[in-house]
Symmetry: C2
Subunit: 377 residues, 2 copies
């Protein structure tokens, strides 16, 4: 058998769609000695993590916690806990992740009514209202607040209000939103929201922070069928994450990853949410100015741009994969490719979490400019 | 809002049912800089991890990989990928985790035929054969090789052979087994097996190594219904973990946790599987001798004892929770409580992975002896 050695990752600057650069302080927290998932000291840290997540989500929701797996599992947890076979869900798709929502609805045995918008544009409120009106018994409206595949921000407040007006629960994907742009769970009246650890929170990938409002908890507790996933069944997970005194074992929590998420949230709290949003916005504007100077255009119209994820149109005649390869190999910078129908047409430049700073903006602009100029020369 | 600070875990000696003590070398690997899940250097590390898992599982199975969530998700992945609504599964229960298997079967819409044995005894082969004979169309036989809740080892080779003889797939839980006792996936002819990162592999909790044999892959590929979990759908996950050249994005892999698992497997490969098994056995025997000397007895008969998880009967008149609390508070040693019908009746002393060494055996024996003597005095 071959020889095996410790893995030494190269030094990359992560300016793609996530993971984002993880600060040394969070890596240090990650590497603290593992303790038990029922240790009283660990349980106290869990309680702090819930309080910090409520701060980040701007909510008082009791059921606010990280799911022990990446954002895709958070998405699945939202659907398997709230949707039952035979339900109808209005699903907005304006990027790849709306399609994944549909997959989740179908696999629960429910019907997905799709509201489609072009990749790169926000969810159209009029179309959503028509769909809700045409499907009066719809259990939920599901949409992506911050589309990681296109860099588009949709109007979560208005979409949650539409859902509420039509008696539907709102299911909000803010994997890329949380910590980078305004997320107002209580003001929006969002019923369920999920995010990811590895975007604007700047922790490694592997956890999915979630929050369930009272109406969602009522639906969860009055289900007619069991939640199809044992691992993601919130009725069981509550007994580990909530309650005073002893916590009931459900599954073994990912201890060290939770240290990292806790540290990331402590750092976000130190900076302040509004300051973090402003920082993401300023560095985004710096990037836009710089892209303009080297003749590159953004895919998304100005009013719907996510500051933390910038979809840049690939100029005609440019081999987008070759540019990304050079960025990685010659400059140690990772940016993202387009997904789905945008494959080959855009680059995705993430300025997320600790990655959002002026130095990184200048570094990626310099490298991109150099590569494109060399090609043109 | 309250003040929040970095979390500093106490220095615990983890001698419970897992997580086990994580060596500094693995914590160091965990904390290396995060890179992207599609980075070619990361993909090369994934390939090494698969090769190392094949070494640990003793298999040539192509579909051998870690699921991006704890062992409970590995269990769920086994059932949701192979079992369809209407199927019958013979499930052996001789501890808590057999009951969890039944939950998984039921939530897939299949029927679980239970074979029950007393907690603390191994799975009875005759009962299993009767159940398989009585259910000729059974799709699978599911059993726990190494019962974490009782410290019992069952005869995986014989159980897999019984399944095969009756045309059923074998689904093997070896969450606590892998790396601590002989696991022979190819020799057994096990069709699916799952484990956990935080037991005898000595990595932090959060990943579930799995292996699927050819027959299982055939079943997976010829399903009549979609896998009910999108996140755990192996038909999709294969496209990220397998194949030459570019890997298709499915979900964002838990990068740093995979660094840790890779390092843990490199260390296991350095020590050698047989040497690791022998070490677990020797330290177990040292513990048994020491327990005997302080008048404590093991729950499980000698032939079925797992060296890495020792179920110790709580003597009459002893408050088991108070003893565990003192071990934790006064000695910084964590041991486990009984689960299910063994709650209050046993302690679980884990000697797993890096935790299995003579110093730890002597330390827990000394502390236990001191606490019990003080109580008796």
């Amino acid at each position: 058998m071959a020889e095996f050695h410790s893995f030494q990752p190269p030094a990359r600057l992560l300016l793609g769609p996530g993971p984002s650069p993880v600060p040394q302080r969070i890596l240090d927290a990650l590497a603290r000695p593992t303790i038990g998932h029922l240790d009283p000291r660990f349980v106290a840290m869990m309680d702090e993590t819930k309080a910090l997540l409520r701060y980040a989500f701007r909510t008082d929701n009791a059921l606010t916690l990280p799911v022990s797996a990446p954002g895709s599992a958070g998405m699945e947890a939202a659907f398997v806990n709230l949707i039952e076979p035979g339900d109808t869900v209005v699903v907005c798709q304006n990027g790849v992740f709306g399609g994944r929502m549909r997959e989740n609805v179908v696999r629960v045995g429910a019907t997905a009514v799709m509201v489609n918008d072009a990749f790169g544009t926000p969810v159209d409120l009029d179309k959503v209202e028509s769909a809700l009106r045409a499907n009066p018994g719809a259990k939920a409206l599901a949409f992506v607040h911050a589309e990681t595949s296109t860099g588009v921000l949709s109007d979560a407040a208005a979409l949650c209000a539409l859902a509420r007006a039509h008696g539907a629960l709102s299911i909000v994907d803010s994997v890329t939103g949380l910590g980078g742009v305004s997320v107002e769970v209580d003001d929006w009246g969002a019923d369920v929201i999920y995010s990811g650890s590895q975007k604007c929170l700047a922790a490694p990938p592997g956890l999915s922070p979630m929050s369930f409002g009272d109406a969602a908890v009522d639906v969860l507790k009055s289900r007619k069928t069991p939640v199809q996933s044992w691992f993601l069944d919130m009725n069981l997970i509550i007994n580990y994450w909530q309650g005073s005194g002893a916590r009931a074992y459900h599954h073994t929590a990912p201890i060290n990853m939770l240290y990292a998420l806790h540290e990331a949230l402590v750092m976000l709290h130190e900076e302040g949410l509004e300051a973090a949003w402003a920082r993401h916005r300023e560095n985004h504007l710096r990037l836009v100015r710089g892209l303009d100077a080297i003749g590159l255009e953004l895919l998304v119209e100005e009013s719907a741009r996510l500051p933390q994820l910038n979809a840049v149109s690939v100029p005609a005649g440019v081999d987008e994969a070759a540019v990304r390869r050079r960025l990685l190999e010659e400059h140690n910078i990772e940016i993202g490719a387009g997904l789905g129908e945008l494959a080959g047409k855009i680059w995705r430049i993430g300025l997320m979490g600790a990655g959002s700073n002026p130095q990184n903006v200048d570094r990626v602009l310099g490298a991109l400019g150099e590569i494109l100029q060399r090609k043109a020369a």
